[in-house]
Amino acid sequence: MARRIVADYPLVLTALALSLLGSAMVYSAGRTDVPTYVAGLYKPQIVWVILGLLTAYGVSRTSVRLIQWLTVPAYLLSLILLALTLVIGTGAGTAAGTKSWLAIGGVRIGQPAELAKVTVVLMLAQVLAARRESPSSLLDLWKPAIIVAVPWLMIMAQPDLGSGIAFIGIFFAMLYWSGVAWPLLLLLASPAISLVLSFSTGLWGAWFLVLLALVLYYRPFLVEGIVLMLANVATGVVAPVLWEKLKPYQQNRLRVFIDPSFDPKASGYQVIQSKISIGSGGLFGKGFTEGTQKRLAFLPAQHTDFIFAVLGEELGFIGVMFTLTLLTVLLLRATKIAARANDAFGGLVAFGLMASWLVHVIVNVGMTLNLMPITGIPLPFFSYGGSFMLATWLAVGILLRISGEGRGRAGARVN
């Protein structure tokens, strides 16, 4: 070994601090006046953190080359697991109605989607890094699109909307990092934008004009352009049909995002109670484990999706500021690791992992304030869950390795 790998202390310390705080919040989430099964969950959570640390340590001892070599098998493995989950999966906890868990003989093994988030990043990095030029047309993107689309479709079939959003975030972030131009990304996203805007004919019409201008400016191939426009028309047309196909609770979640008082007893309840928890926390909070909203079970999913509301209620704005700062430091550090990476693969992996965290943080934390619709997406280092904790620390390990092998000064000394 030519180089001595020195740990990236800012990354490790930030991640450790977040894990400690996260475990403390899982502990607090279990402190309710009428005890539930959540009361004891902090113990397995601590075990998962320790296992995560070991995983990260192990991975950080593995060279990026080896990781790259393992990428294809790991990606295929996660596809198989996802497929298996669709067949024999079960629901659990706050997502009891879905098939997110891989279970064998009634014993839940884990959530393959969490592993897939990492392997898809690796696989995308593999494919994108192999190119000599940045993808410059939509046709150039068919390979990465398929890499993401296959697991994405399986995850959406579970259904796990939150993970699905994370995949899309990863996809766009990595394309961006590989040098795909903004307008192309916009064109790529245009059918999705059409889907959302089609609920207002005026808005959709305006968007269509913008799109037309973009196409003329960017001048894709003729066929591409036509397909793109047709795709936009198609999604715009099928949007109402899709809306009808949504389950009532899914429709309500979207309506409630616009106006929580639309359904205060059911779908809007979570958001309203979450905002009350956070708002009543004030500047300094009600004190660790003392949050009444959590204690008296007004706050739903307090140990998973809404754990940040517990933090807001008990530690106040000061605690929120501290935590968001830690998360920001972590994300910026990961971005820096991506920038300093030794090669394209390492950089893409680092940025992809960062993007995955960013999407989780923004959507999860935004959801507690109703800045984002409720999608059931966990908060890294905080939300209770073994697979997620392991996957998060797996990412930390990979980042550590990329950082260690990276150029320039990052605590790594070049021999």
């Binding site: 961006y176 708002g279 009543s280 968001l324 920038a339």
Partner: protein, 616 residues
């Protein structure tokens, strides 16, 4: 080359900016929610977790003049549920129904209370039996939103004895809640429903306290009593002192047996204080507390003796001969007659006026008598002529001046006003201008018949003015400073002579001679008033003792009692009891029943030509 270091650095920079911008947006969202809007969410969080459980205040204890307890509070239990929604309440009630018996009525009542006051605990049993409470305490863990409260419950130790004046308490009704008087009341609160409880509700009800219990999202009580926020302690109402003499009240109720219908009021003429007030038959107010049992309610309402109808304050009856004192006072006040005045026609058993003949109650006649003698014998013929001298206008004006058309002012709700003409027009309106003659009308009125019916309370007030100096305070059960008002203006000698005449009524020669008791010096006036063509007459007696310096005025009215002396027998026993004079009827354990004509009095046989009856 897409992975040129410069490109990478630029992308990293833009990425970093994006991260910082997004996190700043999030943080500002938290700043807005946690710092700027903190107050609002803090309030909502408190509303979420705290439920108010009212703590009823003990009602004021009612005492008589000797500090005997008339009304007190006993511990009882209410059972309520804290429910967030109506469907949750229904589900909880259904669950509760598996443990204890819940009638559809209980369920309906609970739902009604919930709809009116969803934020207060919904009362299921306002007065839960102890075995129900025991069962529920046993299953407490299964019903975390159940609240079992010890609350004060009204109790009247003497029960039926005090039913004429004490009233009862019960849950406030929907229509009461909508009224102005009870605008500060809440569903589920107890309120006085009659008698003193109603009259002095504002004084007796005290100030409700509040307990804050902490509930979780399902309405389960997590922390009781004072943990979340200290209790607001209920303030009991001050005790209420009355003029009632419970020994006398009990005695009146025992003398006035259940077979009789009618009322008794005993007053202290110096203060107007009500010493005893009774309406027979009575009812047990304790059975009314917290909801009247249906069978008892039906029984009371179908009883022909109307126990719920207060004969002392709500019943109006023709006063009969007890009205003759009103004639006398009007004549004396106006100088129409004095105590020596004799009428032109001596009594020979009847009096001819126009083409009608008005009989005296005694067909043997009373001869020529002065005013005192006429009162003693209750001679109709004398008062027919006195009435004619007074004249109808002055009779009506005099009655109004004496307050005989108004409520006595007794401090009980729903006292009825006497029926008394407001002027000559009254007769024109009623019978047409040619349908009546002033002469025969005033003749009728002079003996307390005709268009005149009085309550026991208003007659008692008038006689208490005779028992004092012509002034009287409104009869008052509550012990208040008496506000004496002048009823009539006679000289002390005139009043003294009136009382002497009343004393002669209860002498061997008078109409109530049988009620004379040695040492009692009872004076008073009988009245035997027509009640209808076929029914026995109403018996009146309003007396005072000792007659030279009265310390008690007793007014007795027995519906269909036959003759006034029968009411006098009750009055003499009541007055004797109050003044501690031994009464012969009490000495013999089985005293002669009222109605036994063994005192030598002669029962009037009314002969009513032209619709006229004469009464002693």
């Amino acid at each position: 080359m897409s992975f040129h270091p410069n490109d990478i650095a630029r992308r990293a920079r833009i990425g970093a900016i994006l991260i910082v911008v997004l996190m700043t947006v999030l943080l500002s969202g938290f700043f807005n929610t946690q710092v700027l809007q903190h107050e609002r969410y803090a309030l909502q969080s408190e509303e979420n977790r705290l439920r108010e459980v009212p703590l009823p205040a003990p009602r004021g204890i009612i005492y008589d003049r000797k500090n005997n307890v008339i009304a007190e509070n006993l511990p009882a239990y209410t059972v309520s549920l804290l429910s967030a929604t109506e469907s949750a309440l229904k589900a909880e009630l259904a669950r509760l129904g598996t443990v204890i018996q819940l009638t559809p009525g209980d369920m309906q009542g609970a739902l009604k209370r919930f709809r009116r006051e969803p934020n207060r605990p919904t009362v299921i049993f306002p007065d839960a039996a102890i075995d129900v409470v025991a069962v529920l305490e046993e299953h407490r863990i299964d019903f975390p939103s159940l609240i079992i409260q010890s609350v004060p419950k009204r109790y009247y130790p003497d029960g039926e004895v005090v039913s004429a004046f004490v009233g009862y308490t019960s849950e406030i009704s929907e229509s009461e809640l909508n009224s102005e008087r009870f605008r500060n009341y809440k569903m589920g609160q107890q309120v006085g429903k009659g008698g003193l409880e109603r009259q002095y509700e504002e004084i007796l009800h005290g100030t409700e306290g509040m307990r804050f219990v902490e509930v979780d999202a399902r309405g389960r009580v997590v922390n009781e009593a004072g943990v979340a926020r200290p209790d607001l302690v209920p303030r009991p109402a001050p005790p209420m002192l009355t003029n009632i003499d419970m020994d006398l009240q009990r005695y009146v109720a025992s003398v006035f047996s259940d077979t009789l219908m009618g009322g008794v009021i005993a007053l202290d003429p110096k203060t107007g204080g009500v010493l005893a007030i009774h309406s027979g038959p009575g009812y047990d107010p304790n059975r009314f507390t917290g909801g009247i049992p249906q069978d008892y309610w039906t029984e009371l309402n179908t009883n022909p003796k109307k126990p719920l109808y207060n004969k002392a304050t709500q019943g109006t009856y023709p006063p009969g001969s007890s009205w003759k004192l009103v004639d006398a006072v009007i004549a004396l006040e106006n100088g129409i007659a004095d105590f020596t005045t004799r009428m032109p026609q001596a009594c020979n058993g009847g009096f001819a006026y126009g083409n009608a003949y008005f009989r005296c109650w005694d067909p043997r006649g009373h001869g020529s008598r002065d005013l005192s003698g006429a009162i003693e014998k209750s001679c109709n013929v004398y008062f027919y002529q006195l009435g004619l001298r007074i004249g109808l206008s002055r009779m009506i004006a005099g009655g109004i001046k004496l307050g005989m058309n108004e409520r006595s002012g007794l401090d009980l709700p729903n006292e009825k006003a006497p029926r008394f003409p407001y002027g000559l027009d009254y007769f024109n309106k009623r019978y047409g201008p040619r349908g009546w003659t002033p002469g025969s009308t005033v003749i009728n009125m002079a003996i307390g018949q005709g268009e005149n019916s009085q309550t026991l309370a208003s007659m008692a007030r008038f006689y208490s003015a005779i028992a004092s100096d012509g002034t009287a305070a409104p009869p008052s059960i509550a012990r208040v400073t008496p506000k004496r008002e002048r009823v009539f203006s006679l000289t002390p000698e005139q009043i003294q002579k009136l009382r002497e005449a009343l004393g002669r009524v209860v002498s061997p020669t008078g109409t109530a001679g049988g009620s004379a008791v040695p040492g009692l010096f009872l004076g008073g006036k009988t009245g035997t008033a027509q009640s209808g063509k076929t029914t026995p007459d109403h018996a009146w007696f309003i007396g005072m003792a000792p007659v030279h310096d009265p310390r008690i005025v007793v007014a007795v009215m027995i519906e269909y009692g036959g003759h006034g002396w029968q009411a006098a027998r009750v009055a003499s026993r009541v007055a004797a009891k109050y003044l501690n004079i031994p009464h012969p009827a009490d000495r013999a354990p089985m005293g002669p029943a009222i109605g036994d004509a063994n005192d030598g009095s002669v029962l009037a046989t009314p002969v009513p030509p032209a619709g006229i009856t004469a009464t002693p």
